[in-house]
Symmetry: C2
Subunit: 238 residues, 2 copies
């Protein structure tokens, strides 16, 4: 596990503020993770009350975004952090935005859960939703964990997992198109499944972004836009 | 027009650095705008060479993102800006990310242009692509202009335009579903139109984000997650 030295400041108050940013980011992460969990459960079970809860809770995610963004900006203005402290504040600012987007996508899944409700578990697309939903939830859990522990290697494994979710997603979309061609009366319904799959895939992308922020924060490395092999080599050779 | 006082620093070098950030953001904006223009033109005309050019140029957009992000971080570390200078640097960091995403979406449109090529202009979905493409290009142009001139009111008009693009998009998607039901042999093809429409709508969302950063930068107001009427009232009552 990597170690950021957040505990070495002369100003005790500065430590408190940095630690508060991290704690609140993880708190927001916990809320968003619950939103994704509930959204996925609602689309699997057809539980519309649970889906409604996700839709209502989205406001809390938005409030969190604005508050945390403000606090991080205040820390920048008052404390003028440098080096790894500055990276932490910037990583929080960036991760907050990804978490808010994940909340948006969870809300889309919940809306599709309502549109699809009352159709039973054997409907077409159910398997694909279940698989991708489970993969994305695992990514979400491990991604937040990597942030909590400032663990660049764990973060990289989540980036890898996203590549496999993207492949699953492409296969699932092809399946949906086949279903539509086989039974055109199902087109509207399958489109709803397709939008839900799309939202789940987007959640995976945002979790991946968060993990890229973790790598940047811990190692000072920018691994966007390079291949996984290159990113691994960079991280392991440091 | 609003005025940010970027020219009042004791350190001449600091002015130069802030101005350079702004100039480079606009340069990146120009490149990304060209990508969107070419992507929209390629899907309308079926010009696959132009679409290939968009796909190749995406690397330049990615390079821009990494470089500008690094430079903005350096300005934060070295100059420790406060007040409107800090807001400028943060707005640049956030806008760079949106510009990069717009580049991604332009690339998706270009890929769909290749998939759809050789089908002639009368194909179904062509009208919808043309309308939404034109609206999004106007937004892009006016959004970058609002950033260049630090104009919060112009930025707000772009946010308004996004709401109308979102409505056009929803209507277009309903049309696509109708086309698929009328002629199931067309499903695969119409799905490509649908993905291109989706990418254009996402470009609108990112331009809207950039305009929200402009309002924050110029007025210090966070207008995310509030209604347009509330945002207008806030901006006009300042």
């Amino acid at each position: 596990m990597d170690k950021l030295h957040l505990d070495r400041h002369i100003s005790r108050q500065f430590n408190v503020e940095l630690e508060a940013l991290r704690t609140q980011l993880l708190e927001m992460g916990g809320l968003v993770e619950q939103q994704v969990t509930d959204a996925v459960a609602s689309i699997e079970s057809g539980d519309t009350a649970l889906a409604e809860k996700v839709i209502v809770n989205e406001d809390r995610v938005d409030d969190f975004e604005i508050e945390l963004d403000e606090q991080a900006t205040l820390v920048l203005a008052r404390r003028q952090p440098a080096a790894s402290d500055l990276r932490l504040v910037l990583a929080v600012i960036k991760a907050v935005r990804d978490l808010e987007r994940i909340g948006d996508e969870a809300q889309k899944v919940a809306k599709m859960a309502i549109a699809l409700s009352g159709e039973g578990a054997n409907r077409r697309g159910a398997t694909e939703l279940r698989h991708i939903g489970a993969s994305v939830l695992t990514m979400m859990n491990q991604g937040l964990d990597a942030f909590a522990r400032f663990d660049a290697e764990a973060a990289l494994r989540v980036v890898e997992a996203d590549e496999s979710v993207d492949r699953e997603y492409k296969t699932a979309i092809r399946e949906m198109v086949t279903y539509m061609m086989e039974d055109p009366r199902e087109i509207s319904r399958v489109m709803n499944v397709l939008w839900a799959l799309r939202a789940l895939e987007r959640i995976g992308d945002h979790v991946r972004n968060i993990c890229e922020h973790v790598v940047y924060l811990v190692r000072g490395l920018d691994i966007r836009h390079i291949s996984l092999d290159e990113a691994e080599a960079k991280i392991l050779n440091q």
